[in-house]
């Protein structure tokens, strides 16, 4: 029953429709009002202090609004929205120290770093090794090309066809203009120039650049990528992973 959902034709976007919403009397929507009723009815008899009331209301609020994190693979459930925000910021905003892109798990970050910033990775790719890991944790499959992995994600794991991990989506406007310029310039200049941005290269472009590297495994020091000329090829340790609490 595989239906190719093509949002480009916007045939299945659930548009905003204005409809009346009715709730059953025991709907969670009415909980806070119901609780308020009981508190008010009893507070005269029980002489609740202001402090007690506030604490009660907070407890009721939190109980009603426990939040579960829905990032793929994370099963954490947090007691309140504040706690959820802390959790999200701590665990799902891993940023790349090389290009500042942000990912939602440290695993994805590390995959990005290998694929986008590691010439060692590219060298292996050039030699035909299956280096592109499936993005779904636990799957374990690897592919020789980004396209192959993409197809696997769509076929096996039902990712949408529009999903694209490697294509770095939507940098800021300034950056986009810069990239457009570079692409035009690059067409004129066939050789790997120091202005080349790794992230915007096509696979073919990278392979051709990398094929100019020596075949030894050590990172050559005389080729620089991107604008980080000063650093040359920075060694980005692949094994650095922020500690991850699984609840």
């Amino acid at each position: 029953m595989a239906m190719v959902v093509d949002y480009k034709n916007d045939s299945s976007f659930p548009y905003w429709t204005s409809i009346r919403r009715r709730f059953e009397p025991d709907s969670p929507f009415f909980t806070s009002g119901n609780l308020e009723r009981e508190l008010l009815a009893k507070q005269v008899a029980l002489d609740l202090t202001e402090d007690e009331r506030n604490r009660l209301e907070k407890m009721i609020d939190n109980a009603a609004r426990g939040v579960c994190c829905l990032i793929v693979g994370c099963r954490a459930c947090l007691a309140s929205l504040e706690d959820f925000e802390d959790h999200y910021n701590a665990l799902h905003t891993a940023s790349c120290s090389v290009c500042s892109r942000v990912y939602t798990t440290s695993r994805l970050l590390s995959i990005h770093v290998s694929e986008a910033h590691d010439s060692f990775f590219q060298a292996k790719v050039a030699r035909g090794y299956a280096m592109y890991e499936c993005l779904v944790e636990g799957c374990g499959l690897k592919f020789k090309s980004d396209k192959g992995r993409q197809q696997h994600l769509v076929d096996k794991h039902k990712f949408p066809t529009s999903f694209d991990f490697f294509k770095k989506a939507h940098p800021s406007k300034k950056k986009r203009l810069k990239n457009q310029q570079k692409r035009r310039m690059h067409k004129k200049d066939e050789e790997a120039s120091s202005k080349m941005e790794v992230e915007n290269e096509t696979i073919d472009g990278l392979v051709s650049a990398v094929s100019k590297l020596s075949t030894s495994d050590s990172s050559p020091s005389n080729i620089s990528f991107g604008r980080r000329n000063a650093r040359g090829l920075t060694f980005v340790p692949l094994s650095v992973q922020p500690p991850r609490e699984k609840k």
Partner: protein, 519 residues
């Protein structure tokens, strides 16, 4: 446990460790009491501390902190009281009636002293069968009253304790009759209200035993505390989820008239309980809703909302209004027609609720507005040009989450024309452009970022409206300015497929590779 190897510089090791244990127990008890207290506060049941007639002869204890020792004492006293009741009931000789009343009173006092009556002890000692006997027909009023009072408080606590009242139900219902004295009937109604407040199962038992008609009749007189207690008990009895009871209630002769009369009363406490009856009538029974909408009730609700400042009253009145608007398209299409005085009145009181300090009022008023905004174009125009919009815009950025979500529904509904068949609903460009220009977009993008699926969906749907409908194709630029692209990218790896597809679809369509090239 005393530490025998204590050195001399530790004073009284034995005493301090015992003290610690006792302190620990007290602390634990305080935690338990804290939890029990919270649960008891939140239940739909009510303890009777001062008699229904108001002349409780027991000074209610000020300090309800039950220490272990005091609790233990209370339990023991309760068990003995039940024992005494047992012999009093068995005794047939001279002065038997007085003896029974005295022992009942003693038990009742023990069950009314504190916030946490010794119910378990009473049940264990076998109180229920004795109390049932004391309810038998022909018993003197004093006896019936005390017995019903004991049962009321036994039923006010934990579920299994309330369920223990089953053998007493038929008699309690029987004493609701018009031949009973008012205080007795009221006390029985109170006990039954607690039983009904326990849950669906017990409600069904009460309904099948015929509790509804006599309780409904108790609501008909013009005044008295009995009317209020009966209304409260009825609200517990009809709260469903089966709508049958609500439908049955509105059909009882004189009930609609009584509801209207009581909603007009100055006595806010009575009006409050009756308003809750209307809440459940309108939430559950389409038949009842139809009857109510055709009556004057909407006008009365609006008047109450306009003139009262009691939160206790405003909550059920607002909710009744909300239920009547939500349940029946008839309400908006024939009664709350734009241009009619009553419609302006409704908008005005909803604005008053939006301005209030109370969270529940702001949230539920927004809900009602969102349903009116889901009506005709004229309804949308009416709200759009009212005082509500500036308030809503402010709430969208500053209010707590649950309010913001409802506000989002109002604003979004204002921007979309009524659904007409299949396909994309049309935009109301004027409203959309103006609201966006007044800064509502960031509030919606915040919702996209929230952890709540429904809110995120709303945010994405509104974003789509902006991308599609803001004039001059300015939508994408505006969304980008508010970090909308980043917000949507959260969903690349999100577990929820629906949100993932929505976000990715929008990003692909409006922020593809060619985005931003020409300029």
């Amino acid at each position: 446990m005393a530490d025998d190897s204590s050195t001399s510089h530790r004073r009284d090791p034995i005493k301090s460790s015992v003290g610690n244990v006792a302190a620990q127990r007290r602390r634990q008890n305080a935690v338990t009491v804290g939890k029990e207290r919270r649960e008891s506060l939140v239940r739909a049941k009510r303890l009777c501390r001062v008699g229904a007639t108001g002349d409780g002869d027991v000074p209610v204890e000020e300090n309800d902190m039950i220490t272990d020792e005091a609790g233990f004492l209370l339990d023991t006293q309760t068990s003995s009281a039940v024992e005494e009741l047992k012999s009093a009931v068995a005794y047939q000789g001279k002065g038997a009636m007085q003896k029974r009343v005295n022992t009942l009173r003693q038990l009742r006092r023990l069950l009314s002293k504190s916030e946490f009556p010794p119910v378990e002890a009473a049940l264990k000692a076998g109180a229920i069968p004795l109390l049932v006997q004391c309810l038998s027909f022909g018993s003197p009023d004093e006896q019936l009253l005390e017995a019903a009072w004991c049962l009321t408080n036994i039923a006010a606590g934990k579920p299994e304790e309330t369920k223990a009242l089953m053998p007493a139900l038929p008699l309690l219902i029987a004493h609701l009759g018009e031949k009973s004295s008012l205080p007795v009937a009221e006390q029985c109604a109170w006990a039954l209200g607690n039983v009904a407040g326990e849950g669906e199962e017990l409600r069904n038992v009460l309904l099948s035993q015929g509790a509804l008609p006599p309780l409904a009749r108790m609501m008909l007189p013009n005044k008295g505390s009995t009317v209020r207690t009966a209304a409260w008990a009825l609200s517990n009895l009809i709260k469903g989820p089966d709508p049958k009871a609500a439908t049955e209630l509105i059909k009882v002769d004189g009930v609609l008239d009584a509801i209207l009369r009581h909603l007009r009363k100055v006595d806010e406490e009575l009006a409050t309980e009756v308003a809750w009856v209307v809440v459940y009538l309108s939430a559950l029974s389409n038949f009842a809703t139809g009857v109510l909408v055709k009556s004057d009730v909407l006008q009365l609700l609006v008047e109450r909302l306009a003139t009262s400042n009691s939160l206790q009253l405003l909550i059920p009145v607002l909710r009744s209004l909300g239920n009547l608007v939500a349940a029946d398209s008839h309400t908006i299409s024939t009664v709350l027609v734009p241009g009619h005085e009553i419609t302006d009145g409704v908008i005005k009181v909803l604005v008053k609720c939006l301005k209030s300090d109370h969270r529940v009022l702001k949230k539920e008023a927004s809900w009602v507005l969102s349903n009116i905004a889901a009506g005709s174009i004229e309804h949308k125009q009416l709200i759009y040009s009212s005082e509500a919009v500036p308030l809503l815009l402010r709430l969208l950025s500053t209010a707590p989450f649950d309010i913001r979500k409802e506000v989002a529904y109002v604003l979004g509904n204002l921007c979309v024309a009524p659904t007409a068949g299949e396909g994309k609903p049309n935009l109301i460009e004027e409203h959309l452009a103006s609201l966006v220009q007044r800064g509502c977009l960031s509030g919606f993008i915040d919702l996209v970022r929230s952890a709540d699926i429904e809110a995120a969906r709303l945010g994405l749907q509104f974003t789509e409206l902006v991308l599609r409908g803001v004039p001059n194709g300015d939508g994408p630029k505006l969304v980008e300015q508010e970090d909308g692209i980043d917000a949507m990218e959260i969903y690349q790896f999100h577990e929820n497929e629906d949100l993932r597809n929505m976000a990715n679809g929008l990003v692909d369509k409006y922020f593809g590779e060619d985005y931003g090239i020409d300029e």
